[in-house]
Amino acid sequence: MSFHPNEVQRRARVASALLLAGFALLLGAFFRAQVLQSARYVLASEENRLREIPLPAPRGVIYDRTGRVIAENLPGYSISLLARNEDSLRTTMRRIGELVSVSPEQVGAAVRRYHRDRSRPTVLFGDAPFELVSVLEERRFDFPGLIIQSAPKRYYPDGPAVSALVGYTGEISDAELGQTAFGEYKAGQQVGKDGIERQYESRLRGREGIRFVEVDARGRVVRENAREDLLPEAPQALYTNIDLDLQRFVHEIFGDSLIGGVVAMEPRSGAVLALHSAPTFDPNRFIGGIPLSYWRELQADERRPLYNKAIKGTYPPGSVWKLATAIVSLEEGVAQLDDHMSVPCTGGYQFGNRYFRCWDAKGHGDISMARAIELSCDVYFYQLGLKIGLQKLIAGGIRLGSRERSGVDLPAENRPLFPTDPPKAYYDRLFGPQGWTSAVTLNLSIGQGENSQTVVNMARFYTALATDGQAARPEIVPGRAERIRLFDLDPKQMAELQRALTDVVGRGTATSSRIEGITVAGKTGTAQNAQDAINDHAWFVGYAPAEDPKIVVAVMLEFGGHGTRAARIATRIMERFLKARVASMPLTEGE
């Protein structure tokens, strides 16, 4: 043992130096963490401490052309949970189930939402009834991690009257979450599912707010309002061209008994005034999750309430398409409006070994094209079609937009069905090279055969007839009005054609639909269809007033019988619109 004082002093110095070095090392490490890298750790500690609770934003209000509300938001409540795992989620649902009834579907939906996005609180009840909210508020402390907050709820004051138009909203689906278009969306958020709600989703969607709550290591909410809320923001309101009064009126006429679709629009601007599909459904019942019973009821209804008959359903247009045949004839110079055909109408027409009937077995006699339009004489148009020839008829039909969507600003409009050019290839493909004859021309010329049109597209076609040959794209939200020339006739031809259409209602097939003080022009159609041999589809497409068209209306009644029924509905819609305009006009103009 060497404990000489000098030795000990030397060792003490070494030991002190080692000690200081050790402390310096520690202090250095703390300096690095607490001074140099502190910001990083502050962030990590805030991330530990704070949970962001999304505050749902109200969607944009949708107005009609005069500022009447089509879609708005009502105060509602949502209940969500900061769940640590699936078990704690299920436990909470079970305990809520002891207080109010909770269906297994609701539990399943909550579990699915939890697995889709665990970083956000899981929505348990997107649209919680008030009694549930009050029951849970009372027992707040029994449910750690439960978040009750206001969540604006979509409401359509006119419900079923606007469903075909406005669509509805719902929780974003898994499939949608996978799409790039919904890249910024989170599970549990509401999104437009159909109609205007879907088409204008980006304009209607509000900006979500954030509430910051403080949680402990076990995910229990310890403090609400840990930081100032970032408030949700509503987007600007969306104004549409819709005339809500007219829309309601259309819904009233159809009631629950008629099946069909209606499109009413302005002929020049393309503004859609009303768009309806009957029977309808109540979009308000879709908000916050469609009740299973209601969904089954809609699915089971063979009238297909969920199928939009104005933009998705395609139907043989029948005689309303005869105007296309007539226009092709005028354009090609095959026959003029005062030309007669070689064979007068005796109630039918013999072509080869087949006899083609006219709708009126009494026959129409020897008539001009104008008169044939007025009386909707099939025999005349059989011969006109044959004179034009299949190829020109089809090429002309395509030119007139018979293969195109109307371009209305609604999602999932269907494309009409119509043959392609050249027809030989089309029919060979359809029936086989020996499977068809030029008899197809006869059917086609009266709007039957391989021709199936949407209501909205026929409305568009008639905007060209109502004006100068330019068709207006149907437009619900004003913004990019667009007119495309479908045909070019000289003014005389145009005037004669329009007079023929006026005579349809004045003294032709639709005389029973005349209205007091307003000249209506249009064309009925009674279209045979493959589904029902007895009940034809009833069409009427027309415009009024004939001398200065303000409104084009296309009405199609599924299995509705004769076109005159559709005509009566169409003219009442026109009357409502035009007389309301007169009534609302100031009595003295200018001051």
């Binding site: 060497s2 060792r11 002190s16 000690l19 963490a33 607490q34 750790y41 990590a44 530990n48 949680v215």
Partner: protein, 416 residues
């Protein structure tokens, strides 16, 4: 008349009191959480233990070094008996519930004998080393001190308690150094452990091994010693990793958990991260006494025991950390001085051994909270909650005050 112990080392006692007061405040703060639990009340229990500790320390300071030297053997034997007993009746607690660190009678936990064993080992080692006329000059000559530390060390590793085991190693080498063992011998004695640590990096181990060979060539120990040394290093550096790799992952994990009960990788990784987040987010001035969010919201694990220094870091910031480490550092510099001026080799070795024990605790514990050291479950002197440990700390203070009072240079009034 107590003239032989006047003046007492008041500065030393004052630093210890200051640190203890600081520590109790932090234990109080550790209990201030948003979801309160039993930790809210433990600062009172800690105060009781402080009172007991101070009383024992005072009593010790009133005895004499000779009495302490005489008591060394019975204390050491008593500690060994308790440690052996623990293997049969020991119970676990807290995060180390599967271990056998606690002595309990009738379900009432009395304390952790390993804390007292630390002091017993220091005393016994001091007695043995001071009794030798010369410092050991060969590895084989170290057998007696090695045995004194080795037996309780093995008993503690069997609990298992890696942290306390580490403290024993620190004390062992520090006291050998203080007794005058040459540094090449110290290096050689420590070399197998170094080899084991370096074993998993081929380059580092190779360099170390070459260095060791050079050292052996220079020191020329007995050929058998040299052979044992080189052989053990080779085994540690080459064979151990090979064996390790042939183990299944679950076996490796079991071995790790055996060495360190809290080494469930995910859990300890979480603790380490949360501790660093707490400290780092404290910044320069801290979040304020009792209001640290990591602690309040229970993100910080073991905030009243092993990770209490993270509470200091979070709530009092770099300033608080500097103050705490500064106090600890000054205290230890002073105890080194006490060791240097002690009246006898035994007293000197006891003082230095206690200093080494304190330093190992501080280095490993504080290093662990900031991520410099692995998580081994070792408490921080004067801060961590724990009765036996507080008692042991104050017993050490009592011994140091006693040694200081009997030492040379009392009259020069020097205070570090």
């Amino acid at each position: 008349m107590n003239s032989r112990r006047i003046p007492s080392d008041w500065p030393l006692a004052a630093f210890a009191f200051a640190l203890t007061a600081f520590g109790v405040l932090m234990v109080y703060s550790a209990g201030q959480t948003d979801v309160p639990n039993f930790v809210e009340r433990i600062w009172r229990a800690q105060l009781v233990w402080v009172g007991l500790g101070v009383a024992v320390a005072y009593a010790i300071s009133r005895t004499s070094v000779r009495l302490v030297e005489w008591a060394s053997l019975p204390v050491y034997v008593g500690a060994l008996v308790l440690l052996v007993l623990l293997l049969f009746i020991g119970t676990g607690a807290g995060t180390a519930a599967s271990t056998k660190s606690w002595l309990a009678i009738g379900g009432v936990r009395l304390g952790q004998p390993s804390e007292l064993a630390k002091i017993a080992v220091v005393l016994m080692l001091a007695r043995v080393l001071s009794a030798q006329r010369q410092a050991p000059t060969s590895l084989f000559a170290l057998w007696r001190p090695a045995l004194i530390v080795g037996v309780p060390w093995l008993l503690i590793m069997a609990q298992p308690d890696l942290g306390t085991g580490l403290v024993f190693l620190g004390v062992f080498f520090a006291m050998l150094f203080w007794s005058g063992v040459s540094w090449p011998l110290l290096v050689m004695a420590a070399s197998p452990a170094v080899s084991l640590v370096l074993a998993f990096g081929v380059g580092a181990w190779g360099a170390w091994f070459l260095l060791l060979l050079a050292l052996v060539a220079w020191q020329r120990p007995h050929w058998l010693e040299g052979a044992v040394l080189v052989g053990s290093n080779f085994v540690m550096g080459v064979v151990a990793p090979l064996l390790w790799e042939r183990l299944n992952p679950y076996q490796q994990r079991r071995l790790l958990v055996f060495l360190d009960p809290s080494s469930d990788p995910r859990a300890s990784g979480y603790q380490m991260i949360q501790s660093q987040v707490a400290i780092g987010s404290g910044g320069f001035f801290g979040k304020g006494f009792t209001v640290g969010s990591q602690k309040r919201l229970a993100f910080l694990p073991e905030q009243y025991t092993d990770f209490i220094f993270a509470v200091v870091g979070e709530e009092l910031g770099f300033i608080g950390v500097t103050l705490a480490l500064g106090l600890l550092c000054v205290l230890m510099l002073r105890t080194v001085r006490v060791a240097a001026r002690a009246s006898s080799p035994f007293a000197s070795l006891v003082a230095f051994g206690l200093t080494a024990a304190l330093f190992t605790h501080v280095l490993v514990n504080v290093g662990m909270t900031i991520g410099l050291m692995p998580i081994t479950g070792i408490p921080l002197p004067f801060f961590s909650y724990g009765g036996s440990f507080m008692l042991a700390c104050w017993m050490a203070v009592g011994l140091l005050v006693l040694i200081s009072a009997e030492g040379r240079g009392k009259a020069d009034g020097l205070v570090i």
